[in-house]
Symmetry: D3
Subunit: 339 residues, 6 copies
């Protein structure tokens, strides 16, 4: 029996030629269509934790009738041969499928073990960082966020397309940014560590509505609130509504003032895109806002490169295809040549 795999791994392995595999997938949608010359077929969108592809089922395929009955949300085990078409991407050949049930289904929906472990570690790391904040307001705010929105946070992607665009991607992005923020504060003690770490935690929290993945699935629907306001405004609204739940009177005497802390944190959320043209209604005006902006970019861009090296094609040895939204061909890192 062929090995159980996932879409991304299959896509890489099948570059070199046909591969037999067992592939657990979730049905995102089923559409009935017909080719230019009138032949009917089904177009089935299949997704897993990290990737997606399209299965086309022609009317002369014996499984056509069963496939027609598939509902969005169904989980399947696909068995067959897979190849990468230069124009159409990953394709299944001589395949069959069976419902995915019980433990296998649960495990599949949980996502790949290593990703799950990484995201759990990342989330635990975030919780520890929040717990280690010294400013009582920021610590309480972070704790309230994790308590109230933890599960939603863990389902959210960091972006729709370009980096960490997967369930839990935001947790990975925030955790790695916290590591950078810690490091940068160690190298520059003049930075307000509590403020910067809180800025990292909340900078993209509006994406809990803009890029949230459906519970128990891998789909990221569009959201009217996200469209009308954008994640920066939603994030500000979220911080403000959590802030109102804090026992602020207990900290009346703390320096700096409660209101100063709130405004500086909101500034970090508002300014983190760095420039008006990138959607920030204000430019960074404090050291921590500057630092947050560059840390965000550093992690996002390095993830785009990682994605390019990992899954992208090459145009020559050690030269990779352009990766969106970067408009350059990548070159293999020097480190990869060590081995």
């Amino acid at each position: 029996m062929p090995e159980i795999t996932d879409i991304a791994t299959l896509r890489k392995n099948a570059q070199a030629g046909r591969v037999r595999a067992l592939l657990p997938v979730l049905v995102e949608s089923v559409a009935e269509k017909s080719s230019k010359d009138g032949k009917p077929f089904l177009e089935i969108q299949l997704v897993d934790a990290l990737d997606r592809f399209v299965l086309r089922v022609w009317s002369d395929n014996g499984q056509f009738a069963v496939a027609q009955e598939l509902a969005a949300g169904a989980c399947l085990q696909l068995e067959g041969e897979f190849a990468v078409h230069p124009q159409f991407g990953l394709e299944a050949k001589r395949w069959s499928f069976a419902p995915l049930t019980g433990e296998a289904k649960e495990e599949f929906l949980a996502g790949p073990a290593d990703l799950r472990v990484r995201q759990e570690e990342d989330y635990a790391f975030i919780a520890v960082e929040v717990d280690g904040l010294k400013d009582p307001r920021l610590k309480a705010l972070g704790a309230a966020f994790l308590e109230k929105f933890g599960p939603r946070f863990r389902r959210t992607a960091a972006a729709r397309f370009f980096h960490h665009a997967r369930r839990g991607g935001l947790v990975e992005h925030v955790a790695q940014m916290m590591r950078y923020a810690d490091a940068v504060c160690a190298a520059n003690p003049a930075l307000h560590r509590d403020l910067l770490l809180s800025g990292v935690l909340f900078h993209d929290c509006g994406k809990l509505w803009e890029n949230c993945v459906e519970e128990g699935g891998f789909t990221m629907p569009f959201d009217e609130r996200g469209e009308l306001l954008g994640h920066i405004n939603i994030g500000i609204e979220l911080v403000n509504s959590l802030w109102k739940t804090l026992p602020l009177d207990d900290w009346k005497e703390v320096v700096p003032d409660n209101e100063d802390v709130r405004l500086h944190l909101l500034h970090l959320v508002a300014a983190h895109h760095g420039e008006l043209a990138y959607g920030s209604p204000v430019q960074p005006k404090t050291p921590e806002a500057i630092a947050l902006h560059y840390i965000d970019n550093l992690d996002a861009k390095l993830e785009m490169l990682a994605r390019g090296y990992d899954g992208g094609g090459t145009v020559a040895e050690r030269i990779y295809d352009k990766v969106k939204p970067l408009n350059v061909r990548l070159v293999a890192p020097l480190g990869l040549m060590d081995v």
Copy 2:
């Protein structure tokens, strides 16, 4: 005795030569300085409702000692000759001053009668428009705004520099935009009039903090909240906090939903600059957001032109100096040639 006038009028009249005048002014600040060749002088910033200029008092002036004692906030009656210097602007010559007191002071602080009347009419018109809204949520929200923030609204400028940059300027801008909005809705009944008028009312309400003029004065200080968040975010926060005071449960059954109304109104506030590069975190995505954006621009640009025609110099007959932030020389309107 010379006529009582104001700075802007004086500036215009003195273009042609020296003018004697009585000029009521408020002292914004007094600074002691010395010229390049070491002669001490006072630099006194004087303002009135519409304009400002600098009075320089040299140490050999008999009034030097008295002027040294002037405090910010004092109101004076300046009597003297005034001229316009091409490089230094309006200047006072052979002047003397006396404290402005009693009724004269009150009248001065109230601003010029015609401006006061115009702004009162504009404010009354806004109140009538709000009262005429049919949607119960938007009507209640507008009423709450006027009730709670009316006085602050009436002191706010529409901008710091470029248009309606005077106490009460925002009231003038909103009233004229409401007239355009009414007209445009009449010409295009598909537009949601209540939503558009409410968008006009609230689009710049964050400027109540960014560009607010001090009570009983003419000075517009900078505000930390405005710097850190910008007027769009402050406006959204204001709408949200007023919204929470409304009896929303009374309107549970009204169509469209409360939440839809709130989101669409916030979208109008958020998108009214039209493009990310101009500071809107989202672009307009509904018909009313489009309409609001152009109505705002139309009124702002026409006011810039009016300011250019009124006070600007000319480079040739019927050709006016460039006016900031427009980067073009203006040409006299055809209508002005009718007479």
Copy 3:
């Protein structure tokens, strides 16, 4: 017998599944091609007043030989089933066709009744507005334009792709802009109404060559003059050549001067794109030029939104696909939720 319909309506109705219909169409072109695997087929471009689609006829279709003989300009009645393919758009299935003749053909070429009525009303409204101008030069110029170029004007589209891109679209655009211009002048009497209305009438008149639809058809060929000069320059040339036909000596004493009127009108045509980068050789420098620019944008953008709401797909409930050249997803208007 199925209902007679048109391409745009069919495209909307067929989103939900196959629809039987009678479809009158005009043949724009017929090309003989072959598929990747060598199968010959005909690609027939079919248009009607508002839309277009491609009919592919395979060589094993019994109607292949007859279809091969079709000439550009032929009018047909297509009968069949229609479906929307997500990639290839509207497609005809199991269809047959017959020549469209006599009254049916005439009616078809006249365009849909409601569009025809709307455009006739719009044109009549324009004529009334021109007749109501008080300035004798502008009234005579407008009348000369309608008399000499009325039929061509009525065939012209307002743009090739993005808004009012249909026969007579320019009439609709100009009429609605006149309604806005009237409204804006009422709200701001300082604007020169005659000049602004004339600017609306002539601002896109160069498109009578750039975007003109062929007489008795629905095709908009490219024009060398439009390519070499652009519609702004052609429009200026048109105004100038009409101007020379006016009895200008009769109005020597009228204020403002003839020449002032001509220059200000040409300025409105030249500056209506608002910025050099959008193709205006000069920026707006008068109040009416500013007003024209925003009125033009307001109507064009609202039409783009209407097109997006009407025919575009959705990515979620109440969230619409991006519409060119706007680069945003649209959100359903609040007004549509009232019902």
Copy 4:
């Protein structure tokens, strides 16, 4: 007696220290002002063929009363010492003046002999080039232009500020561009030489109104037509009105058609700025339009560099100040190091 010189030469020579000179000048304007400490003075704008400076006359100067009576347009002989102030530029010290009359005045108004000779040669060269055109339409059009507008052409500057900004500068610019155009056509015979040379002749002809210097003087007033339409549109209007005076019927049979020639020439005028953002309503779409655009830029930029090398200051040996509108420091040409 000191040498007779001109403003530009004096400015260069006085960099190193005070210089005695006789300086013929024309009075552009006289304004009465007073210094910050109240001392009255006259500010007299003085110009000659190539440059300008300001003479300040203080009230304690014995010539104050006579200078007060000076009228715009008067020609003077200034005698005195001259120095360059790093902030205020060229200044006159211990000077006196006398009216400039008779032959001396005429010679002065004619401009410096070498400039006059150069411009006369350039104009003669242009006339020869026009006479050498083979296409009968283009030759007749060029001849008509020179005949009707020759004197105005010879008074026009190529720009208001940045290059050839002097009386007759356009003649110099057009002549040098014709030399480049000839050379480029020789190197690439596929270019239509007659069309390109005519494009050179007419590309800036709208500047005869935008940048025309007053007859018998050195002042370049602003022009309402230039402001409202811009020189590209005025140029197109000029070509069109000259075109209508040609005996076009005589050339009905000539290939290419009259109308093709007219459109291609207008395209060269319209597209010569190369991009919409630089004010061209259309981009270049023919080989000659491309060539004209680069030849225009080549000559304009080289003139800016020449001006920078000639009159600009240096920030280090062989490194020159930034010259507007180029935003770079210049470096001395290699050729200058040969000697």
Copy 5:
């Protein structure tokens, strides 16, 4: 027997309908694929000196097995019918192939005779120009370049896509730029001819690595050095390394200094893109750098137009499709209408 032709000619001739031809080609790559409905086919990239196209071989074609065995680098003689598909471009029908051998193969690999002759003449012309340089350093440097890198230079394209994108294209580009440079120097003797001609020779020499065509073939692989540094930096490195081989001590007394000559030449290479945003690390700061920039643009743009006229489709009579990277439809040159 049908005529022997090449891909570009065939593409043009087949626009009007099927054409029989003999077509010598080089195999760039062979990939096995399958259509959407599972039918296997080979996708064979075929190139010649000027163009490329794709041959698809279906599994039911008798030549499938032989074609499967084809290796990259093989030369073939293709015989068959050719047609242009509006979407898929040039296609072969009913074809067969045979190996290309002996003299025919050599002739094919040498490229079309007229191109070969043109490039040989161009290269000879470059050599003569280099030999005619008067500055001993620049002459020696040019000679060293031709001697050491002549063959590589003759294989290099001037760009990957947009102009002169063919083996030897850089030689054509440099030769034509030298003709323009000669002409421009004749029209403006102040330019340093030796420096400008050397700038032309070396400006794109970094492309010998970025855009070099494989020896004995027509393929242009990507190069890691080109990706990491770009052709400007590679060019600077090349000039520097050749410079070090020169007997510089022999020219110690020559004016200008050796080092000045080197720096000015490097400046021309560095600044030839004209603006930072186009990849030049410095803007042009000397007359020759300005001239080089415009001459480079002039030749590149005219070649893009030539390509557009030659191979592009038309959207109307005398109006051509947009050509990348120009974003405009072209209009037929006036000169083409003479005949």
Copy 6:
């Protein structure tokens, strides 16, 4: 006797009113000028390690004659009263001066003790970091750089105006960037630490010519090489020439290859501005190039903020003037409110 101070400290202390002080300074230049009303004065540019100001000496000052004799490069002790003029900045009143000699002069030229100590520590830290590199090529290259160019490196500023614009500023910038780079590598072990640290060391090494301060002084002259090539190209040339001095054959077997290491390091230098428009001839294409770009920006921007907080004026409490090239008003950091 008043305290010995420096220009920057004096500028801050004198904001509040006149301050007596002893001020050691270096004379950069002496120019003789005269005021508008003809009074002669000397303009003496005075500098110290961190700042600069202008001393004006009027002809009626008893020290005029002695001051006239001052030569550029002289060191003085200035004693007097100092005040800050809002328009003209720091000014000296009732001052006298004496030559600065012996130990006092040496100490002054060495710069302030704390700056000297900080820069020495920073330089020592850099040396340790270089010594700790593991890759033999990069370690040897760094050592060669410090050995050959250490003294010049220690005199170089990181920029001419905007950040670390002082003697030794580049050492401070590189050291702090190395701290960030260390920290970021610790947080992301996939980055190649040796490559990134070497990129930090060399990224601005071209500034050793562009922004080098004269030995034994505080002046930064312009350099022709910097103007013609820019610091990125000079830096690449420097790396290449040091590289050639390394015993590369000893490391033939080391992985990765010598040439790979060289190219990746050059890529970091070439791409560190991040975008073409900011002067990088290539965009970052490897993880280390991305990281270097953001670390460079982070340190540069934080230094601009520090400069703004330290020396800039305020427009309101806790709101600072705009600092070039940032176009925003700064807000006081939250951390400053702790105390």
